[in-house]
């Protein structure tokens, strides 16, 4: 492949949306109320829509006959480049929204930078996604405040979720080889420069939600290099089941 770095770079962005989209999609029919069920599924559909644009572009760059579906459905666990945060399970509604919030704040800042990319396809995709993700961020941060500043029980659950998920936040700002190469070429976003504003905004919302900002400095990473937590395998089993059981099946 001529442009392996660009291909890997696109997958790194797209896999986050794909895996988080699948997680939110798991709630279809299982949300805590009819209204929040639809809201979570909406977010899932937004993310899958974004994924299609990225994978179509990646398939074009790969140029080896693979389609967007092949790239989405037929890779092995180690070939997925999503961050560990997005593959964490829907333990309860606080975890679901905590994960969404911790990712959305990063995602929005990332897309705003990607809009300035000198790669016209990437900047066009970013332009389209930024409105959707602004809404996601508004939705999830609203819920953090509601649950944090709600009852004693909702506060305790929200605090637990934030404490547990905190360890996966630092990876968002870790640069892979593809990241570094793309930043040098002017296509990519330098994620290390998003870190400070990220934690400032997260801390602001947590304070407003009367939650305690975790002090832990122990962080997990590896997802961007394909080293995942035990949860991703199960998620992929469900995501890929149909294509693995009935190869080339179509709607």
């Amino acid at each position: 492949m001529k442009n392996q770095n660009l291909y890997n770079y696109i997958l790194g962005i797209a896999d986050n949306s794909l895996i988080l989209g699948q997680r939110m999609g798991e709630l279809c029919g299982h949300g805590p109320s009819l209204e929040t069920d639809i809201a979570c599924t909406n977010i899932s559909l937004d993310l899958f829509g974004q994924v299609r644009s990225y994978f179509q572009y990646a398939a074009k760059i790969a140029g080896d006959g693979r389609t967007e579906d092949d790239i989405a459905m037929l890779r092995k666990e180690r070939d997925y480049k999503n961050v560990l945060l997005v593959e964490q399970p829907n333990t309860n509604f606080a975890y679901t929204l905590g994960r969404q919030f911790l990712f959305d704040v990063y995602h929005l800042a990332f897309l705003k930078e990607l809009q300035k990319s000198t790669d016209l396809t990437l900047s066009a995709i970013a332009n389209k996604c930024v409105k959707e993700v602004s809404y996601h961020e508004r939705f999830s941060s609203d819920w953090i405040k509601r649950l944090g500043d709600g009852t004693a029980e909702s506060k305790a659950k929200m605090q637990d979720a934030i404490n547990d998920l905190w360890t996966y936040t630092d990876e968002l700002f870790h640069q892979t080889e593809a990241d570094k190469a793309m930043v040098e070429e002017g296509f990519g976003v330098d994620v290390t420069r998003l870190k400070e504003a990220y934690y400032t905004e997260i801390n602001q919302v947590l304070e407003e939600a009367t939650l305690t900002i975790p002090e832990s400095k122990y962080f997990q990473k590896g997802g961007k290099e394909g080293i995942h937590t035990e949860h991703l395998g199960y998620l992929l089993a469900e995501l890929q089941y149909m294509q693995r059981a009935y190869p080339n099946m179509e709607w």
Partner: protein
């Protein structure tokens, strides 16, 4: 969430048209009601504006009184402006 009050949702489908009642939903407060309405009723681009009103704030007529309220109008055809010709340019009357 079972204690969330009920809200009525009105959506304006296009600028220039009126808001129309399209359904109801549950939400803890008006902000959440707007967000829920956006997700439940406008996700296939049905609207450009949303109103939400707490259902308990609506005063409704009693269906038992329908006879005295509405029936007297039935046999007075002269109350309806059906004898005028409407110019084609006038829409949404």
């Amino acid at each position: 969430m079972k204690n969330w009050p009920l809200w009525e949702v009105f959506v304006r489908s296009k600028n220039g048209l009126e808001h129309r009642h399209c359904g109801s939903l549950h939400a803890a407060d008006e902000d959440m009601a707007l967000e829920n309405a956006r997700d439940v009723y406008t996700r296939r681009s049905e609207g450009v504006s949303i109103w939400v009103v707490k259902s308990s704030n609506i005063t409704a007529s009693n269906p038992d009184n329908n006879g005295e309220l509405f029936e007297p109008a039935h046999d007075k055809v002269y109350r309806h402006p059906t004898f005028y010709e409407l110019p084609d340019e006038v829409k949404h009357m």
